[in-house]
Every structure is written in C-alpha cells, then in structure tokens.
C-alpha cells in the first residue's frame, strides 16, 4: 500500500465545548465510513476517549487520530484524518499541536447552549493555525434548539459566516452525510511535495505495552518508510524506523506515509521522554535545513504536594508516578518531605483539571490514597542581595526580611455566563482581585474578560464559578505576565505548631478572610482530643484568626463484659483503621480530609 494522492486527503479537527457532542459526532463519522463495525461500536460510546476518566467526565485528555475512508459524491475516494483534540484549557498545548497537523476544523456548537468560553479560545487557536472552519450546529432535534439565534451568535462573537452552518444531531445521525461532504468540499487538501526531502511534525507520542514508544506524525514533505534513518532535529537524535501505520481507528501497518498524511511510527525509542512534541523529523542522510516552527513547550503552572495517606505506600506512589509520567511528559514530580505528611512528591501540572486528573488516576488505577496540599503557582522573588529565585512551594520561601519584592503570575480569563448570573460572576472575579477588561453581551449571554492573579484561580475558583452560576458559566484562560504583588506567607498553627502542608502565599488584602475560613473549616474537621486544640492562622508572628477544638469530656463504654469483648474489639479495629488515615502532628491527629477540605474554603 502506497500513500494516498495529496489532493484526496483532508485533515481536520473538531472544536467543541464539553458536552456539545464532539465525541458522539466522531463516533458517527467513524461508523458511517465503516471504520468500526456496528458490533464494535456497541457499548463503547466515545470510541476515541479510551481512558475511563475521559468517558466519565466527557472530556478528551490525550489527542487521538483516526483515518476514515470516504467515497464522496464526486465519485472519488478520500482519506479523512480526524484529530480528536482535548477541549480543556489545561491542555491548550495539546490543542495547538493537533491543530497544527490539520488544515481545517469543524466548529461544533450545541444548538441550544450556544458558544462557550472554551470553544471561543479553541476556535481562535484554529484560526491562528490558518484553518478553514465549518460551523456545525448539533442537537438540532432537541426542543430547546434555537439554530437561528445560535448562528447569529457565532457571527457576532466569533465573526464567522454561519449562514451555511450544517444542522445535525450526532445522537440520531441527522446531517452526518452532509458533514462528510462538507469536509471534502469546504476544507482544503494539505500542501506538500512528495519528491522533497522528509519533513514531518511530531504531533504526539505515548507508550504502548506491545509496540513500545509510538510517535504520531504529520508528514509535510517527502515520504516516511520502514527502514529509513530519521533524525529528530530538536533533541538531535537518530533512529531507524521499525514500522509505519495509521489508525482506522485500529492500528493498520502501511508501507509508507506520504505528504499530508497523519500516521504513526515506531523506532525502538526507549521512553516517551526521549521524544519532544512539536519536534521536526527529517531524513538523517539528507536532512532539511530549517525545522518547522516549534510550539511553546508545556510548562507546569500549578504545583502541589501529593502524599500517601498510608506512609507505607510511598514506594508504590513513586512507581505509579513513574508510570504515569511515561505517557504524560507535561506532569513533573520530585521528592518532598513534610513535617506533617512525611514523604511525598512535589508535582507540577498544566492546570487544576490536570492536577485533579492525575490525582484521580493515581488513586484509581494504582489504588492509592492520597493527600494533596494547597495548590501553588510559581512566584518570582527578588532578594535584597540582588539574586532572584522562583518559588513553587510556600515552605521554601526565604525570610521576609531578605525579600525585596515578589511577583506572581496573572492570567487573562474569558467567562461566558447567562445574564442572570452576571452579578455573582463579577463579584467573584472582583473578590479574587480581578481587573475587568471587557464586558459584552451576546443575546442573553454576557462575555467578560478579566485579568486575574493565577493564585486566586488555582484556589477553588472554578468550583465557585460553577456554583454561583448553577453550572452555566464557562471559563477559559491563558497566562499573560508576572506582576509585583503584596503577598504574605500565611501559616496555620495547630496546637501552637505550624503545619507546613497548610501554609500558603496569599495576598495581604485576602489574608484575613482566607485565614478565618481555614481555621473555621479545620475546627469542624479535627476531632476532639483529650485537651483543647487551638487552631490559628498567622502571618509572621501575628495571629489573624483563631478557633479552638474543645476537649473531649466523655468517651467511655459503660458496660463491657465477656460477651462484649468481640464486638468492642471489632469497633476498636475500625477506630485503628480510621487513625491510620490521620496524621499525627505533635500531639494532635489531623484527618486527611482536613488537608483537602481546608483548601476548599468558601472565601
């Protein structure tokens, strides 16, 4: 099998908000072009979201690709390469590289919900990548659908001509043939020279238990074949290609990949970390001079400590992190020791969702119980002695007297919300030190743009936004710059001792409220001891909030004879297990829930 003629190839991605039907549409396209039999489709909704978490949360984390064969109305056979891209802000990096591998996008919008913040961000990314965009209105069969209104919204908000948007229902299959036809007629074929020397984009890579490291590539020029010596220009390493293949969506080995094609190669690469997404691949014997423009590498922006609840699970946690890292080079970890929590890891994530997903995968797939500490961002400190340092763990903060100034990262946030929740949304942003930049209306929906400090966003912002808008507001952000800020280190003292895992950097104006919220929450969560347990929030030597867990006064079984021994022993055993989930801190036992819940304070 040789590669397809370039004019019969279409590479496209789907831009959509969570729940707007991207994965269902992908399933329909695969089904209609015969990629999988009906039997293979059955019971496996969302073929492309292969992780449990992806299916449950209705999100895509890893980019995936599928090659479809389509016999068009013009009588010709086409190859359609669908790049499934993540929809969430945390994975903007993966979105960009997927978009770079395509010439066009389908913009899928729920015909009753309309455009959401993430859609907006991703469609701009697609436009930046030079894509042709075909608007698709999904769920038109629902009674609440308002296609005309949503079309107008697409024109107003995004500035795209939506007059010939395709009306579909991915769920029932309405309009799917029109989508296939539009991909062929409205999206351009890729450009490339088969006779030029090999130039390919490294789109993604992952570890497969059978194949080893699999590299997903988009061929720009030339041909990629088995046995060929290739060079990865960015990391300057050479390999011999073992296999080339495409996903239909099952892996199919092909002889070669030609210009415009998307496919995979394996080449005895040991680790995913030996490849770099966005790298340029060329022929080793006859290399090109200029690599493709690269991407901004994925840099962790949110950090937190992850500790095993049961200290004996530390080695298991280390092994699990190593395994996850094999497939997710964007997540970083290094060992950390905490006085309160013992041995664990300081981890870096692309965002809060990424953090949650990694934590959830560690707990589920590796059966670990974890404690996560307060999320932190990277602060830049200028010291009086002229040196500069970056801090992503409050514990590492130098003495206040040595600090000249602290800078914190800011983001630009785009929030779309139904009008009725606008007041609450604005209040939330103001409370979080936000600076309003723009407020526009699109029908009954408001779109606001805010500059916000990231450290206010990592702390519970998304949950609060969802709660004040009853789940209707959508949110997207990107990092902008660093700004000097009046930040202080707030410590939590339990029984007069500072608990390192609960300390955080907080803006001076926010310290009182945050401190009060934390101590109130901890008071509820720390069980009574035989003595009073004072809980304090402090900045330097100054106590800004205080609560006391009252001493236990009575806890004794009145009757306990021979017949009770078994029952009481079983109760004691349960109590012992509960205690294993607590952290002994000085004389005080702190339940693991306290470490988590204290960070979800409503302030």
């Amino acid at each position: 099998m040789t590669s397809a003629p370039i004019q019969n190839i279409r590479n496209f991605s789907i831009v959509a908000h969570i729940d707007h039907g991207k994965s269902t549409l992908a399933d329909r396209l695969i089904q209609l072009t015969g990629g999988l039999s009906d039997r293979e489709m059955v019971g496996k909704e969302q073929v492309l979201d292969s992780m449990d978490i992806e299916r449950e949360r209705g999100i895509t984390i890893k980019a995936q690709t599928v090659r479809l064969k389509y016999h068009a109305k013009d009588g010709k056979d086409y190859i359609l390469n669908l790049m499934d891209t993540p929809g969430h802000v945390d994975f903007a990096y993966e979105v960009n590289r997927s978009l770079a591998a395509c010439e066009g996008s389908l913009l899928v919008v729920d015909a009753s919900q309309g455009v959401e913040a993430q859609t907006l961000a991703n469609v701009y990314h697609a436009l930046d990548a030079g894509h042709e965009i075909v608007p698709v209105l999904n769920k038109i069969d629902l009674p609440a659908a308002e296609p005309e209104k949503i079309k107008q919204q697409i024109e107003d908000v995004i500035g795209l001509d939506a007059s010939n948007a395709i009306m579909i229902s991915a769920k029932t299959g309405i309009g799917i043939p029109d989508v296939l036809e539009a991909i062929v007629t409205r999206l351009p074929p890729p450009k490339g020279d088969r006779n030029a020397t090999l130039k390919a984009l490294l789109v993604d890579s992952w570890y497969d238990a059978y194949l080893g490291v699999v590299v997903l590539v988009r061929i720009v020029d030339g041909v990629l074949k088995k046995g060929q010596r290739i060079r990865m220009m960015g990391i300057d390493a050479a390999y011999e290609v073992d296999r080339t293949g495409v996903f239909t969506p099952k892996l199919t080995i092909v002889d070669e990949l030609g210009p415009g094609e998307i496919g995979m190669l394996t080449a005895s690469i040991k680790e995913v970390a030996d490849t770099r997404v966005g790298d340029t691949i060329t022929d080793e014997r006859n290399p090109i001079d200029e690599p493709l423009p690269g991407f901004r590498p994925a840099i962790p922006v949110v950090f937190c400590g992850l500790f095993p609840v049961d200290a004996a699970q530390f080695e298991d946690l280390r092994a699990a992190m190593g395994k996850l890292r094999l497939n997710d080079a964007s997540f970083s970890y290094e060992m950390e020791t905490s006085a309160a929590l013992g041995f664990g890891f300081r981890c870096g994530f692309l965002g809060l969702l990424h953090l949650e997903i990694i934590q959830e995968r560690l707990e589920r797939e590796f059966n670990l119980d974890l404690i996560a500490t307060a999320p932190s961002v990277i602060y830049k400190m200028k010291l009086r002695d002229g040196t500069e340092m970056e801090i992503h763990n409050p514990v590492d903060m130098p003495d206040v007297m040595k600090i000249l100034e602290i800078e914190e990262p800011w983001i630009e946030a785009t929030i779309l919300t139904p009008d009725e929740y606008l007041g609450s949304v604005l209040k939330l942003c103001q409370d979080r030190r936000g600076v309003q930049k723009e407020l526009t209306y699109v029908g009954a929906r408001a779109m606001v743009k805010y500059d916000l400090p990231l450290n206010e966003v990592v702390f519970d912002f998304y949950d609060r936004l969802k709660s004040v808008s009853k789940g209707y507001a959508s949110f997207d952000y990107h990092l902008t710059d660093y700004k000097v800020a009046d930040l202080v280190k707030m410590q939590i003292l339990v029984n007069d001792e500072a608990v390192d895992a609960l300390s955080m950097l907080v803006h001076k104006t926010r310290a009182d409220a945050r401190g009060r919220g934390m101590v109130e929450k901890l008071k509820e969560l720390i069980p009574p001891h035989m003595f009073q347990v004072p809980i304090q929030a402090a900045i330097g030597g100054k106590i800004i909030a205080r609560e006391t867990v009252r001493a236990m006064r009575k806890d004794v079984t009145a009757k306990c004879y021979g017949g009770d021994a078994t029952r009481k022993r079983k109760l004691l055993d349960k109590q012992k297990k509960g205690k294993k989930r607590m952290r002994q801190f000085g004389k005080v036992e702190i339940p693991q829930e306290a470490f988590i819940a204290a960070l979800k304070v409503d302030t």
């Binding site: 006064r553 009757k559 021994a565």
Partner: protein, 385 residues
C-alpha cells in the same frame, strides 16, 4: 501474691428469658409466654458443660456467674443441676464465687433461699433506679419499695450482694442523682454497679432517641454525673475498681475480674461467649443466640457453638488493652509484650503520660488515671493504634 497472678477460670451460664423486654436492653433475652421446659434446658446445659470440659479439661473453676436474661426466674433445682454438672466435669475451687443475677421483686426473692442452698453465694440485683417514675420509664416491673425489700431479703440470706443502678437518665440532674446515689449507698454493703445509660442500636430507646422523643444528658452533663459518682462513692469507701463498678477493697466481683484480666472463661447457654486457651492459642467462642435453636443444636451436636475463632496476637493484644485498662489496677506491660510480641508505642505512652491520662506504677504496671477514665475509649484507641 496479688489476685492478678492467681490463675482463674470462670464459667458463665446464660439464662435467656425475661418476663418482659426493657426498652434500653440489647442483651440476648427473650419473652416466652407459654412457659419454659426447664428439664430440657438442664439436659442441654449438662451436655454443653461436658463438651466444653472436654476441650479444656482439668481446669479449677474459681468463679461461676448466672447471667441473663433473668436467671432468678430459674427454679433453684435448675441452678443446682447446673452447678452439679460443673462440679462433675471440672474441679471447683474451695471458696468459689457463685453469683446469680436477680430481679428485685418479691416473687424472685422467694427463691433466694433455694439458690443459696444450691450453692449460690452472691446475688446481683437489677434495681436500676430508686425512683418510681424512672423505673417505669426504664420498663422495669418493680417499684422502688419492692426493690428495697428485695435488697433486704438478699442481705439477710447472702454474705455478698450487689445491685445495679442506671444513671444519666433522661432529665436527670446532678443533684437528684447525688441524692439517689447516697440513698443507694446506704442500702449497699460491699459492691455497686453504676452504669451510664447507653442507647444501643436496635432497641426501642434507640428509635425514640432518633425521633427525639428521648433526650439523654449530653457529653458535658454526662461527664459531671460521672465525676460526682466517683466522688460520692470514694467518700463512702466504695471506690471504683472498674469504669462502672465500685467495691470495698477486696470485695470486687471476682468473676468479672476474669474478663477484665484476660483470664480464661467458658460460656454456657444460648448466646454465651467464651475465651479458651487450647494448645497455646486463645479461642473466641460464641453459641447460638436463639434459645430454641440453641437447644436443638445441643441436642443433636452436644454443643451450641457457632463461633470458634483463633485470635491473632493483635486481636488478643487489643482485647487485653480494651478489657484491662478498664480496671483501676491497670495492666502489666510485660504481659502485653508476652501476648503480642511487641511493646506499646513509647511515643503514644509518653503523650498520654504528659496529658495525665496514664500513669506508670512503681511496680511497672500501667494504669489509667482519674483524668483518663472518662475518655477511656480514646485512650485505648491511642494505645492500640
């Protein structure tokens, strides 16, 4: 040599019938209106005693306890037959303590002489309250006066007697309880059991409490009631030797000490529990609870055992702490080490010392203090964790 070091072997006999169920009680007791075929039960008790003695032969029985249910509903001849069976299969120590639980009613009291003749030398009366309204609320069938009369009968017949009171009852004030307790002490001789009312799951009181129709003293009042109980009893020469048990020194209930000191005991009758050391392993035994089902088991199998578990060292250690720390005499850490093969966590012990909840005696024994007793369950959990 102190009592602790003496080998002790107790036999517990359960009589599972009552005239009515009290709303706070979660014990294995049953009401049978059609009368009870005591002869049939005697045979079954004899079989179970024989079967148990076969597993742990050669023991010298130091205490026997008839509990229930209401053992004072048994004919004295039934008690006699059971005691005879025990004596037949084991050796009975000279000076054996034989206790029988009794309801403080005039009818039950008529049998006291018969019990004494059968070999019973100590009675424990379920007086529960010296207040008629409270007795009614607790579902008791006797009045205060009737109870006091029964106590007088017991005093005239037995050298040793005790009675139980339940306190921290609904709406009880510290003052009312102090007066009631002093009156009780004036009627007591050497021993009193004073239990705080505990709402047990699956009892009528549990449902009432859930629907807020029953409100019992909160933690603070419960503690105050506990504290004045300790004070009044100590002043009267009846200090606590266990969380809820008070005695003149030397007059402790030796049978119950068997449990708390983690000695061996056999459980006979429906729903009775035992701890037997067989081939160096401690067995936790329990019999079928439902009386008729137990009878049928014993009649066909020779015993009513449904549980016979070997305890792990950790389980044994937990029981040792759970039971032993209830006593004011405390525990011997060396015995803990022998049982479990490990030592108590010195860090935990030192924190508890620091809190004043635990103290080490000159002879090395570890015991809970007056500060620790009101929160004993937390102390035990700390040490066991």
């Amino acid at each position: 040599m102190s009592l602790t070091q003496q080998p002790a072997f107790g036999v517990y006999v359960h009589w599972p019938f009552c005239l009515s169920k009290c709303p706070y009680c979660d014990f294995n007791s049953h009401v049978r209106h059609g009368g009870i075929d005591e002869a049939r039960y005697i045979k079954a008790f004899e079989s179970e005693i024989a079967a148990t003695a076969q597993r742990v032969p050669g023991r010298e029985v130091s205490t026997i306890f008839f509990g229930g249910g209401t053992p004072s509903l048994m004919q004295p001849s039934t008690v006699q037959a059971i005691l005879d069976a025990i004596a037949k299969h084991w050796t009975v120590a000279r000076g054996v303590e034989v206790t029988l639980e009794a309801n403080p009613t005039s009818v039950d009291a008529t049998r006291f002489r018969g019990y004494r003749a059968a070999g019973v030398n100590r009675v424990s009366l379920g007086v529960q309250a010296l207040n008629d309204a409270s007795l009614k609320e607790l579902g008791r069938l006797h009045s205060t006066q009737e109870a006091l009369d029964a106590v007088a009968v017991a005093r005239s017949i037995f050298d040793r007697y005790s009675f139980d009171l339940i306190y921290a009852r609904p709406k009880q004030t510290t003052q009312a309880w102090a007066e009631e307790l002093k009156r009780a002490i004036s009627e007591a001789a050497e021993h009193l059991s004073l239990y705080q009312l505990t709402i047990e799951p699956e009892t009528p009181f549990y449902a009432l409490q859930k629907s807020r129709k029953l409100v019992i003293p909160d933690e603070d009042l419960g503690r105050d009631l506990y504290d004045i109980t300790q004070e009044i009893c100590a002043q009267a020469g009846l200090p606590a030797y266990e969380v809820s048990n008070h005695a003149r020194p030397g007059s402790e209930c030796r049978h119950n000490l068997v449990y708390w000191r983690a000695h061996e005991y056999a459980g006979i009758g429906p729903g009775a529990h035992g701890r037997l050391d067989i081939d160096g392993v401690r067995q936790a035994t329990a019999t079928e609870k439902r009386p008729e089902a137990w009878l049928m088991r014993v009649e066909s199998l020779g015993h009513g055992l449904i549980t016979d578990d070997s305890l792990t060292r950790e389980e044994q250690a937990d029981e040792f702490l759970l039971m032993g720390l209830r006593l004011t005499e405390g525990i011997d850490p060396k015995r803990y080490e022998t049982l479990t093969g490990r030592t108590l966590d010195p860090k935990r012990v030192s924190i508890l010392h620091e809190e004043g909840a635990l103290e080490t005696m000159p002879d090395g024994r570890l015991r809970v203090t007056q500060i620790g007793f009101p929160v004993l369950d937390a102390v035990v959990a700390d040490l066991a964790a």
